[in-house]
């Protein structure tokens, strides 16, 4: 580069050198500052993005639960108001017919009436199990008790239920979510775990509620929680998080499954 005359006066030369020197140091300082600032922005941005995603997931889950509850409520009402009513009518009709028949035929009709009566009872229990109103009126502990009776009556699983401490309401929505988690766990034990026994423990403390669920089924490796088959279990965690609770799931192949939900933010 050839430059003998760059048009700057002699007096200003020293100042230019000093200024540009300061500028050079300034650039290095600026770059360091920028990198730190950028890193902070990245972290802040990531945090905001995670929060947005978590809020979206919560909203999605909330909507799914609302839709599920509406469906359950509809099915429950249909069972209660329609199917059981029809079955009751059939039972009455059979009773009327039975009176006019011979003894052996009457016995068969009565047998059928008993079966229908049993079905009506089962359907009523199922209707109660699905209905939100049942939890509203009876509370969580009583609703679980009814559910346990229903399952035990079916003979599919031996369920044990215990309550510790003085029961109190944690709010209808919270109780409903806990109850649905319990139903999901029962369903898993029946469908996938081939469990024979199931323990439910509800512990009420001063400002803490623990719901412990335990089965003696096949169990699974902890890694299963992260794959597709573990979506039901993850759903339990998400549901618990939705009401401010924390779900911990422990299992190992051949050692059953233990689920513990702790809730302490309802007060």
């Amino acid at each position: 580069m050839h430059n003998d005359n760059i048009g700057i006066t002699d007096d200003s030369v020293q100042n230019i050198v000093l200024l540009t020197g300061a500028l050079f140091i300034g650039i290095i300082g600026f770059i360091v500052y920028f990198v730190v600032l950028y890193r902070n922005r990245q972290l802040k941005n990531k945090k905001e993005q995670d929060e947005r995603e978590a809020a979206f997931r919560q909203e999605l889950l909330k909507t799914q639960l609302e839709i599920q509850e509406q469906t359950f409520e509809y099915v429950s009402k249909e069972i209660h108001d329609n199917i059981t009513q029809v079955l009751s009518f059939v039972k009455l009709s059979l009773g009327t017919i039975g009176n006019t028949l011979e003894a052996d035929k009457k016995a068969k009709v009565n047998e059928s009436r008993e079966l229908i009566a049993q079905s009506i009872n089962d359907l009523r229990d199922l209707s109660k199990s699905l209905s939100f109103e049942h939890i509203s009126s009876l509370g969580l502990a009583k609703t679980i008790e009814t559910e346990v009776e229903r399952i035990n009556k079916s003979g599919l699983l031996k369920v044990f239920f215990s309550v510790e401490g003085q029961t109190f309401s944690i709010g209808e929505q919270h109780e409903l979510v806990l109850f649905r988690i319990l139903q999901e766990a029962l369903n898993n034990s029946l469908k996938h775990a081939a469990a024979e026994h199931f323990k439910i423990s509800l512990q009420y403390h001063h400002d803490l509620l623990n719901l412990s669920l335990e089965d003696d089924g096949l169990g699974f490796s902890p890694g299963a929680l992260n794959n597709k088959s573990g979506s039901g279990l993850r759903n339990m965690e998400n549901r618990a998080a939705l009401i401010g609770g924390k779900a911990t799931i422990e299992s190992a192949p051949g050692e059953g499954c233990r689920i513990k939900i702790s809730l302490n933010s309802f007060k």
């Binding site: 430059n3 005359n5 760059i6 030369v13 230019i16 540009t20 050079f24 890193r39 990245q42």
Partner: protein
């Protein structure tokens, strides 16, 4: 010695750019093109010009204008703001017109260094660089800054444009006080080496796929 190192590094940056050309995004393809043109200007064409005019002032005139046009176009692709993009494109017209007027009448291309072109263009490049840093802060991507080509490119421009002022000041000071000029030569080539290194890192770290992922 140092000029040879600088030349080898320039060739290496060009070769890296050529090898990675298909993987590069549009602004960095332009950067590679500019590096190749610069290399030709400072080597083959420079010798030709010096043999005719006995000075390389013409090369400096061409380089000053050429660099501004290419860097503006690169920034055009890097900026998101429409007003800045428009300004970048339109600024090329008056700068080009002024460069021609300057080369013909104010600072003749056959014997004078284009200081009146370098001063405003380098100031503009510093401003573009700072604006791009601002944009980076406004829209941070979840990629480590060290592997972001834009970051390295922007540092290179900020560094070189600012150093240009320092170099001009030092050159004037040394020539007017009849001091040891070898220092300024080393200083200038060192600056070019750092500049080329930064551009080389920018070319090495640029990837089309990453931009696509970040845009999602």
């Amino acid at each position: 010695m140092i000029n040879n190192i600088s030349l080898i590094l320039s060739i290496l940056v060009c070769l890296t750019g050529i090898v990675r050309f298909r993987k590069l995004t549009m602004p960095f393809k332009l950067l590679v093109a500019l590096q190749i043109i610069d290399l030709l200007l400072t080597t083959v064409i420079n010798k030709l010009v010096v043999s005719i005019y006995h000075t390389n002032a013409l090369i400096s005139h061409i380089q000053a204008l050429n660099s501004y046009i290419f860097y503006s176009l690169i920034y055009y692709f890097l900026f998101k703001n429409t007003y800045i993009k428009k300004f970048l494109l339109f600024s090329i017209i008056p700068i080009t017109a002024f460069a021609f007027i300057n080369a013909i009448s104010i600072e003749p291309y056959n014997n004078t260094f284009p200081i009146y072109i370098l001063m405003p263009t380098e100031i503009l490049l510093v401003i573009y660089s700072l604006l791009l840093f601002r944009q980076m802060l406004l829209y941070p991507v979840q990629v480590n800054i060290v592997i972001q080509s834009v970051f390295w490119y922007n540092i290179a421009i900020l560094f070189f444009s600012a150093i240009m002022f320092m170099n001009l000041g030092l050159m004037n000071y040394y020539s007017q006080h009849n001091l040891f000029k070898q220092f300024i030569v080393y200083f200038w080539y060192s600056a070019i080496i750092i500049f080329n290194l930064l551009l080389g890192i920018a070319i090495l770290t640029d990837r089309k796929e990453e931009i696509a992922v970040n845009a999602q």
